[in-house]
């Protein structure tokens, strides 16, 4: 790992679970951001949305998804950022998810890329590659991960926000 890669903040979900996780007051002192999440939903709902600066408009995305035997692609004008482990996956397993946000503090529209995998001791487990765009020129100062429906982050779900400097 490059020595310009710094952990800004980490959160681990407690026994009560959490509907969403927000990193606020993100400093503008880095070049890029990465969030790494080890997560699981306590319900069957595990599709996730993202929101930058609490804004829910002007997002678009292209999704490539594979399950071990077939692949598909979709696109949409929403904040979808993939699916982590739900209550339907093997108990106590957690999916891995990562988002990369380059030039988050700049004045251009904000692109982001995501790769994630579900963990499941079964024939089927999905992996995702997602390219997204938030058509907004504001610097990103907060980032929220939330479930689209009634999902809840399970205890021990952990998210870490990293900052990357280009020098």
């Amino acid at each position: 790992m490059a020595n310009t890669y710094e952990a800004i903040a980490t959160v681990t979900v407690g026994s009560g679970g959490a509907a969403d996780i927000t990193f606020s007051s993100i400093p503008a002192t880095y070049t890029d951001l990465i969030v790494k999440l080890s997560g699981r939903s306590t319900t069957s709902d595990a599709d996730m949305y993202i929101a930058f600066n609490s804004n829910t408009s002007n997002y678009s995305r292209r999704v490539l998804r594979g399950n071990g035997s077939a692949a598909s692609s979709t696109s949409g004008s929403d904040r979808y950022v993939g699916t982590i482990d739900s209550s339907g996956e093997t108990a106590s397993t957690f999916g891995n998810w990562e988002i990369y946000v380059p030039n988050y503090a700049g004045s251009n529209n904000k692109s982001y890329s995501i790769d994630s995998v579900e963990e499941n001791n079964a024939t089927q487990a999905f992996q995702y590659f997602i390219a997204g765009l938030w058509s907004n020129t504001s610097a990103i100062t907060s980032l929220k991960l939330e479930f689209i429906a009634a999902g809840t982050f399970a205890q021990y779900s952990t998210a870490t926000l990293y900052g990357i400097k280009n020098s």
Binding site: G16, A18, I21, S25, P27, Y49
Partner: protein, 73 residues
């Protein structure tokens, strides 16, 4: 679930905050909209799979072997 976690990156402090009525309503609206979009996506995916299976069956009926059909993919 009625609360969220907010991590203040300037202090490292995590606070637990109850969801507002507006946030709960937004989640419910998001769920409906996403389900509609997902149904459309699934229909497109299924239509593509059906068309592929139909095309492969027609090629097989013309005498192509499974290896020959696979080579066209």
């Amino acid at each position: 679930m009625s609360h969220k976690l907010i991590v203040d990156c300037s202090t490292g402090v995590t606070t637990e905050v109850e969801l507002t009525a507006e946030e709960i309503a937004q989640r419910e609206a998001d769920a409906v909209a996403f389900a509609e979009q997902k149904a459309l996506d699934d229909a497109v995916t299924q239509a593509k799979a059906d068309a592929k299976a139909s095309a492969q069956a027609k090629l097989a009926a013309l005498g192509l072997t499974a290896d020959e059909i696979a080579a066209l993919n």
